[in-house]
């Protein structure tokens, strides 16, 4: 099996601190990479570097055999980024927010309403994001991930603010994505119960 996403000898320095050095991994289709470590150990920074938002001090991230610095457009086409901040407009409704999404990146041909129903947010369609609870907003952010046609899911603490059912749902959704040949890099504190080949990366 060949790796689709690989990182070679990454070094990241933020301010005065070296977060990690000589970090490498390779991820193939259907695999999950779990990032673990204490608060402030650099999980989010590593994810942001993988998304291409942070400039690395050293090393290279390679997607489909091409460094992402050179093939940024193609890389962005195949990834979706679930950040800590949900990235949804508080004054717009759920549907308006997700419609805007569909102009930004390739969208899978899935039934919009079915996705909302699965996440238990179809009742909230007409409400502005402002009136939704933090957990409900997180579910809308998950809807963005589910609606996208991306192969690579990069998720920063996807379980935050979710209830027990919601956490199970994330496990289930990610598991399904992986069994369809997708990939996922996830930073998580909770125990993750996903039935897929999993690599763990512990940051110190």
């Amino acid at each position: 099996m060949t790796a689709k996403l690989s990182a070679n000898n990454l070094t990241l320095i933020r301010g005065e601190r070296c977060l990690f050095t000589g970090l490498s991994f390779a991820l193939g289709t259907g695999q999950l990479l779990l990032l673990e470590g204490q608060n402030g150990s650099g999980k989010t920074s590593l994810l942001r570097a993988l998304v291409g938002l942070l400039e690395l001090e050293e090393g290279e991230i390679v997607w489909n055999g091409e460094p992402i610095r050179r093939a940024r457009q193609a890389y962005f086409k195949s990834l979706v980024w679930l950040a800590h901040r949900v990235g949804l407009k508080a004054d717009l409704t759920l549907v308006e927010n997700l419609q805007f999404e569909s102009a930004l990146r390739p969208i899978a041909n899935t039934d919009f309403n079915a996705v909302l129903e699965r996440l238990g947010i179809e009742r909230l369609k007409k409400l502005p994001m402002r009136s939704l609870s933090a957990g409900q907003q997180r579910r809308v952010a998950l809807a963005r991930v589910l609606l996208s046609a991306a192969d690579l899911w990069l998720m920063d603490e996807p379980f935050t603010n979710l209830d027990r059912d919601g956490r199970q749902l994330v496990d289930e959704i990610v598991g399904q994505h992986l069994s369809n040949g997708g990939m996922c890099v996830m930073a998580a504190h909770q125990d993750v119960e996903i039935d897929a080949p999993t690599q763990k990366l512990v940051l110190e």
Partner: protein
């Protein structure tokens, strides 16, 4: 994975969607749009009250004051151009989109001009009346303001993108933008004065138009680069 079943949005889809979304947001929160407009209207109506009713004096100082008020109103509105998107994380989503960031930033800037520059142009004839400006110069005032505010929105987007990551970057933003905005102010105010005095003024219009064309074609690239730096 299911590459056959996916729909990739077109190149201009991102631009139009960004303009539409920002206009929709402005519609839902009209306060942000009205603030600079009120500022412009207040300066322009208070000045004649303070200066006195002498028609000669009002006509003489009118173009300059209108233009300074317009410039400051634009500066006032620039700070919020990328700030809300930065704070709620939607700017990051724009940055990791396969759509070219140049077009997405341009979309946001166009929406900014439509909600802050265009309203100034529209109420400017009313403000010109408080200065008793001759009727013939009002068309010139609107034309120069249109060209000038386009330049200011474009230049301002670069400054706003550079300062978006900084805590309270407003003062720095003004400092960055003002030197670049000086030609707009000088040409704008002088052209209106010349038109009011019945002199030849076409040179100023050409200069403002050239400046606007330059800003529209170059600023989006600088804005995109600045946004990537600010989000590190």
């Amino acid at each position: 994975m299911n590459s056959a079943a996916e729909q990739t949005p077109g190149l201009l889809a991102g631009l139009t969607a960004t303009v539409r979304r920002d206009l929709l947001l402005a519609w839902k929160r009209p306060g942000d749009v009205l603030n600079p407009l009120f500022f412009f209207a207040m300066v322009c109506t208070l000045f004649p009250l303070a200066v006195g009713p002498s028609v000669e004096q009002l006509q003489f100082s009118g173009p300059g004051i209108l233009w300074v008020a317009a410039l400051l109103a634009m500066l006032l509105s620039l700070n919020s151009l990328f700030l809300a998107d930065f704070e709620d994380g939607s700017l990051e989503q724009l940055l990791v989109s396969p759509q070219p960031l140049v077009l997405l930033g341009l979309g946001k800037t166009i929406a900014h001009w439509l909600t802050s520059g265009l309203p100034l142009v529209i109420i400017s004839p009313l403000m010109a009346m408080t200065f008793q400006m001759p009727l013939e110069s009002i068309g010139v005032l609107m034309l120069t303001l249109t060209l000038g505010t386009i330049s200011l929105s474009m230049l301002g987007s670069v400054g706003a993108a550079l300062t978006v990551g900084l805590y309270r970057g407003t003062a720095l933003l003004s400092l960055l933008i003002l030197p670049l905005a000086m030609p707009v102010l000088i040409f704008g105010a002088r052209t209106v004065s010349l038109a009011a005095a019945g002199d030849v003024y076409s040179g100023g219009i050409f200069a403002l138009a050239a400046y606007a064309v330059g800003a529209v074609s170059l600023a989006p690239y600088a804005t995109a680069a600045a946004l990537r730096i600010s989000n590190e």
